[in-house]
């Protein structure tokens, strides 16, 4: 079946702009996660959804970052007033409960 999909695959924006990154999880997976991977590092946790609610957003770096999952499926990560330090690959994963997480291909965000 289809895996986790993320759009766009690449996003280039200017400092100060607003961006939205989309994640479409595996059908039927109730849990959805966002991670950020900086160059040369492993992924770092940002936020976790169980259904429609954000069960844990402790990994979001500041209040410029926000994520939603209004219908318990697709999720959008929103970044306001982007900064150059936000440049990274943003990974989305989903899982059927507390089992292994399956990752999408990521969105590479570049802030100029």
């Amino acid at each position: 079946g289809a895996g986790v999909s993320q759009t766009p695959s690449n996003k280039v924006t200017e400092k100060g702009k607003y961006v939205e990154l989309r994640c479409d999880p595996i059908s039927g997976h109730t849990a959805l996660y966002w991670y950020r991977q900086s160059l040369g590092q492993g992924p770092e946790f940002l936020i976790y959804f169980q259904g429609t609610g954000a069960a844990d957003d402790s990994g979001l770096p500041n209040d410029r970052f926000f994520a939603v999952r209004p219908e318990g499926s697709v999720s959008t990560l929103k970044i306001q007033r982007t900064e150059r330090g936000d440049s990274a690959v943003y990974l989305c994963a989903s899982s059927p409960g507390s089992l292994a997480q399956y990752f999408g291909p990521g969105t590479r965000l570049t802030v100029l």
Binding site: Y33, Q41, G42, A100, P105
Partner: protein, 113 residues
């Protein structure tokens, strides 16, 4: 706090030779352990996982890993590497009530002919 250390940043191995990637973890309870592989420009693919039971787990692409609680390790092995195994490998730890995964910094594997 949970954490993962992958001591080797980069490993070069000849095609057909064996491969072992080290992973040490810190976790306060029974860990769930994972190995993921990431090829250039690709997302993370799950190679194998350990939740409980047999400490030697088999994964895809001929990989296996052994959980050693006394050493807090979960090393990944492959008896004979193929050129297509060149990639970056990440070890991760979570738990039965801990949905966050903590990843190591990764080990880059280069395969020479």
């Amino acid at each position: 706090a949970q954490s993962v250390t992958q001591p080797d940043i980069h490993i070069t191995v000849s095609e057909g030779a064996s491969l072992e990637l080290r992973c040490n973890y810190s976790y306060g309870a029974t860990p769930y352990l994972f190995w993921y592989v990431q090829s250039p420009g690709q997302g993370l693919q799950l190679l194998l996982k350990y939740f409980s039971g047999d400490t030697l787990v088999q994964g895809i692409k001929g990989f296996e890993a052994e959980f050693k609680r006394s050493q807090s390790s979960f090393n990944l092995r492959k008896p004979s590497v193929h050129w297509s195994d060149a990639a970056e490998y990440f070890c991760a730890v979570g738990g039965p009530n801990d949905y966050k995964l903590s990843f190591g910094a990764g080990t880059t594997v280069t395969v020479r002919a």
